[in-house]
């Protein structure tokens, strides 16, 4: 007797979680999910096999071997996507393995530390550090079921939907010169540190204009500077008014 499975494939569920509707799943994410849940490697260890058995089952057909998701386990796909965005593919696999082989102490927090690519995602997509802390807390808790429950989305942009992973698409879908954006942002920070506020603001504005998608970090930094500037200007006017009393 075969196990009961969901009707949708891994890609179908990924597209639902990413709010893709009719669009196809970006190939990078397709590959990432496959390497976590299906692709057999020689180094697939026991723990990998164990967690895969919790999520998918292989259907052998004459010309069409494929995988189906076990009933009620689709949230594992969601969690995998969430972790791919925040820690990358390799660490995601490790986190799933840890459900079957106890991790060394502190391993999860080590995994949650940013790689350079993650730092870019964090920078460009405005990952909320509070949400990240919550993800870490849940992963380390014994009561959290990685296969049936959902981690919160790391993105803070959508307050009404705690599980919206759609912002991560921007990173996997388009060819975007992230490194250029990062450099421009750092140049603006440097200008600000050198007390050249005007240049800093114009650099940030230029970056906002040329960027292909909104960059929350850039916008909020610009807001901070302009608020400080307005505050200082008010004080400056007051100071001048005092000096003009003669």
């Amino acid at each position: 007797m075969s196990k009961k499975t969901e009707t949708g494939s891994i890609n179908d569920y990924a597209r639902i979680f990413l709010r893709l509707e009719d669009k196809t799943l970006p190939i990078k994410l397709h590959n990432a999910l496959n390497s976590i849940f299906t692709k057999d490697r020689d180094n697939s260890n026991k723990a990998t096999k164990a967690f895969r058995q919790q999520v998918v089952t292989e259907i052998k057909a004459l010309h069409n071997n494929h995988y189906e998701i076990l009933i009620g386990k689709s949230n594992a796909i969601y969690n995998a996507l969430c972790l791919i965005a925040t820690v990358g593919v390799g660490p995601t696999k490790k986190i799933f393995q840890y459900r079957f082989q106890p991790p060394k102490k502190g391993s999860i927090s080590v995994l949650l530390q940013q790689t350079q690519e993650q730092a870019l995602i964090f920078f460009c997509l405005g990952v909320d550090t509070k949400n990240m802390a919550e993800i870490g807390r849940r992963l380390e808790s014994d009561s959290f079921d990685l296969f049936t429950e959902r981690l919160p989305s790391p993105f803070g942009s959508d307050r009404n939907d705690k599980y919206n992973l759609a912002p991560m698409l921007a990173f996997f879908e388009h060819q975007i010169p992230w490194q250029d954006y990062m450099n421009a942002y750092q140049a603006a920070k440097a200008s600000y540190a050198a007390e050249d506020v005007k240049t800093a603001i114009s650099q940030l504005e230029e970056l906002e204009q040329k960027a292909l998608l909104p960059l929350p970090v850039v916008t909020s930094f610009k807001k901070t500077i302009t608020a400080k500037q307005a505050d200082a200007e008010e004080a400056y006017c007051y100071l001048q008014s005092l000096l003009n009393y003669k």
């Binding site: 505050d231 008010e234 004080a235 400056y236 007051y238 100071l239 005092l242």
Partner: protein
């Protein structure tokens, strides 16, 4: 921040002997730009305010003083006051404190010059000024409604002539 501000208040009010505002800080203050103000922290802005306050009191220009001291009172009452301290408010706080310290420095324990309106008797006693500091002084200045148009007027708000002990 709040602790910092309170510390500044306490230090400025208590160590009056140490605090000497530059003789003429006006020139340097006139050079301060908006950009400078962005990067000054609250303590530095308060210092600028002190300096300007003293300059103005020396010239007997105190139109803005009651309002400035009002700001100190408001911040004392507001729990989050120092956290939300704007640069203008920091200037006002400095201005108020600078004036109070200056008046104390200048008049406290100084001999009271009897005027011709004083009674005959009092002319043979030695009177000295006793000036208030701290929040008492701040509140007095904040609630002043008549115009403070000269140094002696502000002295009369903050100081009283009392019988000297010697």
């Amino acid at each position: 921040m709040r602790i910092l501000l309170l510390l500044t208040l306490i230090i400025s009010f208590n160590s009056i002997a140490e605090i000497r505002v530059p003789v003429r800080c006006e020139e340097s203050v006139a050079q301060i730009s908006t950009t400078n103000l962005i990067f000054f922290n609250s303590t530095e802005v308060i210092k600028v305010g002190e300096c300007v306050g003293v300059e103005l009191v020396k010239r007997g220009v105190m139109e803005a003083l009651p309002k400035a001291c009002d700001e100190v009172v408001e911040h004392k009452n507001n729990l989050l006051g120092a956290l939300s301290l704007s640069k203008k408010e920091a200037l006002q706080i400095g201005q108020c404190m600078g004036v109070i310290n200056y008046v104390y420095d200048r008049y406290n324990d100084e001999k009271y010059n009897t005027s011709r309106y004083d009674s005959y008797y009092s002319k043979y006693k030695s009177y000295v000024y006793q000036c208030v500091t701290g929040m008492t002084a701040v509140k007095k200045l904040a609630s002043t409604t008549y115009s403070l148009s000269s140094r002696s007027k502000i002295r009369d708000v903050l100081c009283e002539a009392e019988l000297g002990t010697y």
